[in-house]
Amino acid sequence: MNSITLQAKVLPSLLVGTSRHPLPSELIPPSSSSSDGTLEMLSLMGQALRFERPSTPESFIVEPEIKDERKIIADGLRRPLIRLLTAKNATEHPARALARAFDRLRLRPHPFDLPLIDAFVRSNAEKLGPTAQHWADRQKPEAETRSYFDPELLDESNWTQPMLSRRVAYLEQRRRDDADAARTLVESTWAQEEADARFRLLQVFQTRLSMSDQPFLSRLEKDRAPRVRALAARFLARLGAGSENPALGVCLERIKQSQSGLLRKRSTLQIELPANVKDQAAARWILQTFADVSFGDLAGAFKVTEKELIAAGAKDEPLLLALALIATNEHRLDLLELVVANLPNAWERMFEAGLDTLGAMTESERQRWEEIVVHPYRKDVPTAYSLWDWLHRITDAEAPASVMSIALHAKLLTNVPEHERGSGPWVEMIAAICPASQRQELREQLTKFDRSQTVTPHALLEILDGMENARTHV
């Protein structure tokens, strides 16, 4: 009796039951006097099945080709990295700092570690290189995935290949150099882009927005994604295309113009809040009302220059806040600096307003923005965690050295309210924003806390040092 006979004659009986499908009598061993031979057949069949080799699938999936030119993180940093990113109660600050470091240093996590730091990879895939991007996309339908290339240098021939964040950064630079050429690039790939990419690429039009963008923006009024349609409409409104910007009209209704001064009359501007807007909601109302207005339009409406507009609103805090938000929106850091000179608490006021993005600002612009809003405080730097947390989230960058100096010299960590002193979020956040040049000074300040409170910040600083050293020694 061989395996084929057993498969053909015995297996069906055992599967459906020998009572319904009796075993063939000729197969029953003659020596089995004590039983009907069923159990012997069961053992024989079982053993025959054990000797069957596992079946090989007809085909295997061909894994996509990934060209990842980034260097893999040093072996010695892998375990500490995993430990830090999977620690219980860890805040998002270390993860954000690490993702930035991966991006800036063009490093990538070890592919074997991706399953272990899955949540981190999913949240920061764009900053971790094509291999990580592929890992994060593995559950997506094939149609929604793209090629996984990350060339070191981008030009017009390969700018569509890398991850979206690099494409946006490239396009942003192109808009500065040649806005029309940048628009042509976007137009050439627009139909193939998914909604998220379309929205982020369109945000770049903020830079050097001009009437030559109008035909393209007009076509976007029928885009499939509502947020793309809304953003295009805002840009068109700002251009005053076709009709007057309705948002500008609403703003002008709320700005009261008057004259002041005895010898030399000066024009002054002041926002009159609607009666139904309470004081605590004023900042949010300003953010919403002035979102679609440009500095140039506002100045033009009052027939003054941009600088004169700031001077005219210098005595009115709500108007200064509005101007700070507009300047931020338009990446006009020169104007923001002038506004903040009259509104030293712009940081707190913009936080109250609920500003949640710096748009497509480059990292250096974001750091400059941070300097502008923090510098007026000098030694009286705020000690509210929510403000620093917001600053880190919105800039998503290391603090500029001058800002970190303010925090360190003010001994921020020891001056925060007692119940928050040395708490995980505080020390982790400060470590996450600390630039390399000031890590030693921060370490010295951390020695004043219990070791149990500074395990994560110390580990983060060690890893960041390790990543930077490994990169400089390549």
Binding site: G17, S19, R20, M45, R50, P54, N89
Partner: protein, 473 residues
């Protein structure tokens, strides 16, 4: 061997324990912190009036704490290890106190240095007993009492034999019933029927078969639906084979008879194994390549430490497994060893046609982490699989065994990963729990490594790749 964070993480029963230990890193919690002779000990101020006494052995990560925690190691032991690992606290030097010596004297299976200290501890704490021992002490034993005890043992053995045989008759009836009703029906009510027969087999003093049948539903339900009926035939067929082999031990070769008795549930104690002069002993350098922890239905956790022999191809076993059973309630889920550890030891193997399970009879050098690759044989997966088939022919109820491989690849079909040998086109499905973790291997060309094959799924344990070493987590 210095304590590392990796070792501490591996020892920790859960993440919460690590988090709790971290809070205890404050020096103010530790009125005393002392070190000496490879040990570190201290007192940790807990919620009670009396501080807990904690001691750790750095050589083998042994520990003891007087706190009432049911977690092992507790947060106090973990915190003490942590402080040793990151050298953040100052430890005073001192001689080993009595309570530490007492702990050492009650330990077993320690490393060389610890054993030495243990011997010293024994000699110091119980000197009078040592000194009063004389070779003729046994002469005082009562020979009649000895004879009575031996007779009682023999009577118990015979009684158990009879009980087991009666239980096997019940088992035959049960198996016949399952065959009569068919495997499709068996799968539908497997949990209930297996539980019933397992309880009867426990009563019949055949715990080996009882555990095998109690675990059967879990094993079946880890497999894809269509594979379950044939898997049930395989498993029930094995049970019948064991039962028949047990009845015919006198007709079987000695080693196969020993296998049958062990499979039914006649256990061999560690002491009996170590005293067995005929037991196979292999003195070698061993490398830990996998640690597997599985809860069992009998509320015990089975912790397997798989070892690979680094030197010698002399026909002696190339691998071994150390098996420990710990209560699930203690939450201890790991062995004392980490994957990658290397030990120099003499292993005593339990008698078997295919010797695999062993005990450390003499530890010559304690565990040390090594970055060296495993000395795998230069053979493809197909050759290892052929060895498995040969072993299966010798021991029909062979369980999980290690398979090494060279130049294989991990391939994907849908969600399922396979270890694939190009030459022979043999493909072994990877354990479903590894679908995520082993996924990055699918983009690599060729890998060498070792894993555990249970007849259904392959658990990849260790792989050397062009991107470095991959280890099962």
């Amino acid at each position: 061997m210095p304590l590392t964070f990796e070792r501490i993480e591996a020892l920790a029963p859960d993440q919460a324990s690590l988090a709790a230990a971290r809070k205890l890193l404050k020096p103010s919690y530790w009125p005393t912190l002392t070190e000496g002779e490879g040990l570190a000990w201290g007192e940790c101020q807990g919620s009670g009036a009396t501080p807990y006494r904690v001691v750790i052995n750095e050589a083998d990560a042994g520990y003891k704490c007087t706190c009432p925690s049911r977690k092992f190691p507790c947060k106090h032991a973990l915190a003490l290890m942590w402080m040793r690992a990151d050298r953040s606290a100052a430890f005073a030097s001192a001689s080993v106190p009595d309570w530490v010596k007492d702990w050492l004297s009650r330990r077993r299976g320690t490393s060389n240095e610890a054993s030495k200290t243990q011997e010293e501890a024994k000699s110091k704490t119980k000197p009078s007993i040592r000194l009063t021992e004389i070779p003729e002490a046994g002469a005082d034993a009562d020979p009649k009492a000895e004879q009575r005890a031996a007779a009682a043992r023999e009577r118990n053995r015979l009684e158990r034999e009879a009980t087991v045989l009666a239980g096997l008759e019940d088992l035959d009836t049960w198996l016949s019933d399952q065959a009569q009703h068919g495997m499709a029906n068996f799968i539908a009510q497997t949990a209930q029927v297996c539980r019933t027969i397992a309880q009867r087999l426990v009563d019949a003093k055949a715990p080996g078969l009882a555990v095998r049948l109690d675990a059967l539903p879990t094993r079946l339900f880890t497999l894809p639906g269509p594979a379950r009926p044939s898997a049930a035939i395989r498993e029930l067929g094995q049970v019948h084979l064991i039962s028949q082999a047990y009845r015919r031990t006198s007709e079987l070769p000695e080693l196969l008879a020993a296998d049958a008795r062990q499979a039914v549930g006649w256990s061999v104690t560690r002491e009996a194994l170590l005293n067995d002069s005929e037991a196979l002993r292999v003195n070698a350098t061993w490398r830990v390549f996998a640690v597997v922890s599985e809860p069992q239905p009998d509320r015990l956790r089975r912790v397997e430490t798989w070892l690979w022999r680094q030197n010698g191809t002399d026909g002696m076993p190339q691998c071994a497994v150390l098996i420990d059973f710990v209560p699930i309630s203690t939450a201890a889920a790991v062995s004392g060893y980490l994957v990658g550890d290397q030990i120099e030891a003499e292993l005593s193997f339990y008698r078997s046609t295919f010797p695999l399970r062993a005990q450390i009879s003499a530890l010559k050098r304690g565990a040390e982490q090594s970055s060296e690759p495993l000395t795998l044989p230069d053979q493809p997966l197909s050759a290892s699989y052929a060895n498995y088939e040969h072993a299966l022919a010798q021991l029909p109820w062979l369980g999980t065994i290690p398979l090494s491989f060279r130049m294989s690849s991990v391939r994907r079909n849908g969600e399922q990963l396979y270890l694939y040998d190009d030459e022979s086109e043999l493909s072994l499905p990877l354990h479903t729990s590894q679908a995520n973790h082993a996924s990055p291997l699918a983009s690599l060309d060729r890998i060498d490594g070792i894993g555990l094959w249970n007849g259904y799924e392959f658990t990849l344990a260790w792989a050397e790749t062009q991107l470095g070493r991959w280890l099962r987590s």
